[in-house]
Symmetry: C2
Subunit: 80 residues, 2 copies
């Protein structure tokens, strides 16, 4: 079973890396880009378990290790 | 219009960061995790344009700046 986890900065949290990429896009000739935010994605392969258990385990992984819940949101998608 | 871009390492490309996270999950008591791969996600906000044009522009951004196509795959999703 495979879990896809997206970790993104909460709205309002400063994202200097995203801002730098936005600026680089501008200087590369891409106009009309109003904002860029960068986040992380984790693809976690787990040994056989049911969907609900997998989701609960990945949620705990996010809270304890993968995301800093003070400044980041996470989103979990389980794929069979 | 908002574009979500996922940049992930191609299968077979070594991912030491993902491996380190997998190991950290193991030592944190999460068993049964067979592999972790880490990637990047970009959320790009663009000023008004149609869907096809937006997708073509983001594709060019990926090829020129956001992804290293030698070792990375990218995936674009346009949201209205």
């Amino acid at each position: 079973m495979k879990a896809h986890v997206h970790v993104t900065l909460k709205p309002g949290v400063l994202d200097p890396q995203g801002a730098a990429i936005g600026q680089a896009l501008g200087t590369s000739g891409f106009e009309g880009v109003s904002s860029v935010r960068q986040g992380k994605v984790f693809e976690i392969e787990m040994e056989g378990t049911d969907r609900a258990t997998a989701e609960a385990r990945v949620d705990e992984m996010c809270r304890t290790l993968l995301a800093n819940t003070v400044i980041e949101n996470y989103d979990i998608r389980i794929e069979d």
